[in-house]
């Protein structure tokens, strides 16, 4: 009883539903990106573990490093990284599905479906095109993302240097020193 009297009476705001959803999103976004990424890597077997895994890791690291160096841009950088990773994985899996669909198609079937005579190598050429797109997107998307983050870092440094120089000039002008 004595302890109860001494205890401070405080008004404490409880966690609202919005707070809970915010925390759920904060944990859910990266976990979804991770799950989709691992799913893509395991589905692609050797292509996944040898090529997609290191390049995905490069995207993760680029996003993390930029987020750590620029705390003011952290939220946008993290969101960009998660969206880029999910997009990358979904595009690769989509191309894999397209390749799966087209793998059984022969030139005769293409001729029948177009109603137009095409060269006899047409059937295998389509698979080649899709594989080209697959390779290009598997390599170029991470390179593009890393370039974007590097540009962001360089631009931020330049802006900081410019602001610093302007502040210096302003202080000289105002204090005459």
């Amino acid at each position: 009883m004595k302890r109860k009297q001494n205890e401070r009476i405080t008004y404490k705001e409880c966690m609202t539903r919005q707070d809970i959803s915010k925390y759920a999103k904060a944990i859910g976004f990266p976990l979804v990106a991770f799950a989709v990424n691992i799913w893509t890597i395991t589905n692609f077997r050797a292509f996944g573990t040898e090529l997609i895994a290191p390049l995905s890791a490069a995207i993760w690291v680029a996003g993390l490093v930029t987020g750590l160096i620029l705390p003011s841009h952290r939220r946008t950088t993290l969101n960009e990284t998660v969206i880029a990773l999910v997009g990358y994985s979904v595009v690769l899996m989509g191309l894999r599905y397209a390749l799966q669909l087209i793998s059984g198609v022969s030139t005769e079937m293409l001729i029948a479906s177009y109603g137009q005579i095409i060269s006899l190598t047409g059937g295998s050429a389509v698979q080649g095109y899709i594989q080209n797109i697959l390779w290009i997107s598997a390599i170029m998307v991470p390179i593009g993302f890393i370039g974007m983050q590097a540009k962001k870092l360089v631009q931020f440094r330049r802006l900081m240097a410019k602001n610093k120089a302007l502040d210096r000039i302003r202080s000289i002008r105002e204090t005459n020193r």
Binding site: E13, A26, I27, P30, I41, T42, T49, A53, W60
Partner: protein, 56 residues
């Protein structure tokens, strides 16, 4: 059914352990994902402060 569910999950977990052990990139991805969760949570904690004040 429960046994097959258990076996499925054990298999998935063992596969994940194998992937991590055989490929360093996947380990890096896992670490980065954990760091992302931490940074996202840190952003939320610094953004919303629980209000607490004395009444009397």
């Amino acid at each position: 059914m429960i046994q097959s569910f258990k076996a499925y999950n054990e298999n998935a977990f063992n596969n994940l352990i194998f992937l991590i052990g055989s490929n360093l990139s996947i380990l890096l991805i896992m670490l980065c994902a954990a760091a992302f969760v931490f940074l996202y949570l840190k952003e939320e904690v610094t953004m919303s402060v629980q209000e607490e004040q004395n009444i009397v």
